[in-house]
Symmetry: C2
Subunit: 492 residues, 2 copies
């Protein structure tokens, strides 16, 4: 069908511009010299608005509209239907945002990021407050432009997790928070420790590289670099890059983040290359993406089987270590509330997310003023984690997200944990020997299961449909809670 082919050609061209934009972002986080940020912001803004203009142009929309007409749509193959339906969703959303708005947002995020870095360094929220006000005004405007039924926060959430609403998040997060509070209160013992050791960066690089390959990450279609905030980015199925960061006193800082990011990377490398640029070659949502990173980090990487596999590798690379595989396993699963989200254990981590979700929703819905944010933050940290926040850098200024304009993003982390637990449970049923394989350093069974059930599907299903299809039931917090109860039992 000629119009369908035309649409796919245009989508593949758009994807090439998207790759160039992504390279600018990757480079900004990994390489950019200090003095180059201002100019780079201008380049980003120019290319972002060009991209938006091209994405939203009338000819493409007309093609999609024509292909969406019932008489034509019904004649399409299943694959074609997915491409048309999802592209229509993307374009409907994108066309609601004027190019000036996109360009202004691009400039604002570059500026806000710089202000946030400075404010965090000086531990002073007041420096960040004015630009956060500006950002919130922009995000409220964005919500109005996109439209919503109940809460403006719904519109923002939908950008990251299509179909998810404040109502559906509340329905999962409220009972989850209550159960987690009980669980956290039940933690008795001091967290497990292992003997201090020194982990030279060069050996940690070898470790990251070796484990990444062992998990199945294709280093000929990817690379591992260093950035202060580890992330994954894909330019194409053959070029998916992850980053990590190194701490010579704790090898898990790099290895844990490498495994996490490699989880994202495996998803991107596993999307069908022939569909690259179309929704069939794209990830379902941020929540499903996060389910992949969390599966590998927490369900594989923190398992007893993995500790047994990892221990001899560590002993080879760091001859000084003196702890046993079991001690390693217990240390990887220690539970203790931490002020910093990214340093938190699996159990308390989700309270960090619930806290951020409640606060950003209140900011967007107008129930909380920016000036009152630090106090509200500190109060919730006390209530949910039992900790006092000594300064803003260890509190409200710790995360980059708000400076990036990513509001509605945090919930996808806990959704990812929930999906991961439910998927992992299903994989275990399908592959009874899976954990025995992990202990032997063989991860291809689990990867194959993810490839078949999740990666190869692209955006064929929404996250809710995918969970149902893969696990046979709706999203159910039971699986994550069972998993976390095991962790608390181990810690006690």
């Amino acid at each position: 069908m000629e119009s369908y082919e035309k649409l796919v050609t245009e989508l593949k061209t758009l994807a090439k511009y998207g790759s160039a934009l992504s390279l600018l972002s990757w480079d900004e986080e990994v390489n950019l010299p200090a003095r180059a940020h201002s100019y780079r912001g201008e380049v980003n803004a120019l290319l972002s608005s060009d991209f938006h203009n091209r994405l939203t142009k009338q000819e493409t929309y007309d093609l999609v509209a024509k292909l969406s007409e019932p008489g034509i749509f019904s004649g399409l193959s299943d694959d074609q239907k997915t491409v048309v339906r999802e592209t229509k969703r993307d374009l409907d959303m994108a066309r609601k945002l004027p190019t000036e708005f996109v360009e202004k947002m691009s400039l604002l995020t570059t500026k806000a990021f710089g202000v946030w870095v400075e404010a965090r360094k000086k531990q002073d929220f007041a420096l960040f407050a004015p630009i956060l006000e500006e950002m919130l005004a922009m995000k409220k405007r964005e919500a109005e432009l996109l439209g919503y039924k109940t809460s403006p926060y719904d519109a923002l959430l939908d950008e990251f997790e299509p179909g998810m609403t404040t109502g559906s998040v509340d329905a999962v997060f409220k009972p989850l928070g209550q159960e987690l509070s009980k669980l956290i209160a039940s933690v008795k013992s001091e967290p497990a420790v292992i003997a201090a050791s020194n982990y030279p960066k060069a050996a940690q690089e070898v470790l990251s590289d070796r484990i990444a390959r062992q998990l199945g990450y294709d280093m000929d279609a990817g690379r591992i670099d260093v950035s202060p905030h580890p992330f994954t980015i894909s330019f194409h199925t053959t070029d998916v890059r992850v980053t990590t960061r190194y701490d010579e006193t704790d090898f898990w800082v790099s290895l844990g983040s490498t495994i996490h990011e490699v989880g994202h990377g495996l998803y991107e490398q596993g999307l069908p290359e022939e569909h690259f640029g179309t929704p069939l070659g794209e990830a379902v949502s941020l929540g499903i993406h996060e389910s992949q990173s969390r599966s590998w980090e927490n369900f594989v990487g923190r398992s007893r089987a993995f500790a047994n596999y990892l221990h001899p590798v560590l002993t080879e690379l760091f001859p000084g270590i003196s702890y046993s595989p079991e001690q390693l396993y217990r240390w990887l699963n220690r539970v203790r509330p931490n002020l910093i989200r990214v340093e938190s254990d699996e159990v308390t981590y989700n309270m960090h997310i619930i806290l951020r979700y409640e606060l950003e929703k209140a900011l967007i819905e107008g129930d909380l003023n920016v000036a009152d944010l630090p106090a509200a933050w500190n109060e919730k940290v006390k209530k949910y984690l039992g900790l006092d926040v000594p300064n803003d850098a260890l509190g409200v200024l710790q995360d980059v997200h708000w400076s990036h304009g990513s509001i509605g993003y945090f919930p996808t982390y806990t959704l990812g944990n929930l999906y991961a637990a439910q998927f992992f449970n299903a994989a275990k049923k399908a592959l009874p020997d899976m954990e025995k394989d992990f202990a032997a350093g063989n991860f291809s069974g689990f990867l194959g299961w993810l490839r078949e059930n999740i990666h190869s599907q692209g955006r064929r299903y929404t996250s809710a449909e995918l969970v149902k299809k893969v696990t046979g039931e709706e999203l159910n917090a039971k699986y994550l809670l069972d998993h976390l109860r095991e962790k608390v039992a181990l810690a006690n």
Copy 2:
């Protein structure tokens, strides 16, 4: 003046697209995963042809044409006149090349580069011959499109060294070649050696970083990465990147190339930032660019004063070394013909260029067939350097340039040496204590002189005008020959 402001705005926008394109190139050389080359080639081709379309669009040309009308031009300031005159030159040239041609060339160079890598690996010119034929046909077509008076090679040369012709190159290269042949024949002794030592890569990285900063390279507006073929690229005055490569048996492989590339980088960092994107913020030519890298590499880096400064730094970083500063100096200046251009000494290096110049001119002018190229190469290597070429990898396949479509580029290397010698002589007259300063690790006098006389000028003058203005005379090979005679005297 409104049309002038409009022109500058458009040029600065074009520069931003140029920066994105340059980032793609840098990333391709420094980071690209093995499997990603094919897709990256498509992205490059798309963005290159977009850039060419925008560069050559009628509205911009109309602005320039209007500003070039005598009545209007005469009312412009000197700076404005430079911008209009040079932009007109650029656009006249660019508009002669159809977008399809540019896109085809972009795809061809990506493909040819891959073939060249493979052919060199297999030491088999026959594998490269068909695509080189294709490349030559394209370059002949390019010469026809651009136009020329005498030789099609003139058109290609003019792209890299504006104003230079086959005639003017011959007038310099022929007598230079004759003098150099005599000089090379007069080399008597065995080349100086220094005791073998091991230079760990980590310490060499410290060395490169320290020396680059000491020479004046701003690391907050640049960075040093690794690539198989070291190069310099500028995205903006605040983001100028160099690369190097490491050999643990020879620190000069990295340090020499770092100093060379930093010489290029200092030029780019020294261009007037406020004029970025316009000809006033651009380098004069490749030859003048090369004069900067060669000044720092050969006239500073291989001087006795620099060896005296460098020796204690080496002793600190590589405690095992046992040679004296004078031995270091003599080793840095040893003379011995080498099959490989980039490993050649200063004296024999220029014979490599003359050889390539003669061959590529003959190929373009139709006096040499691709099939006869390896034999012609080997014959000239025997005649000019007295060496037998054992295989194509050490002969005709050693350089990347032809696969990149860079024909007419090689002469700029020797032009750079000639300019460097003449500039350095002028600088020494202006700064009599310059070499004493080098010995003390102080390079700011020489850098300041280059900043004032060359870097800050942008494209205000052609290379011929600049040489005249800065040194008081036309290009004169005497200065390079005097310098090389000293090197031979030292070696004998």
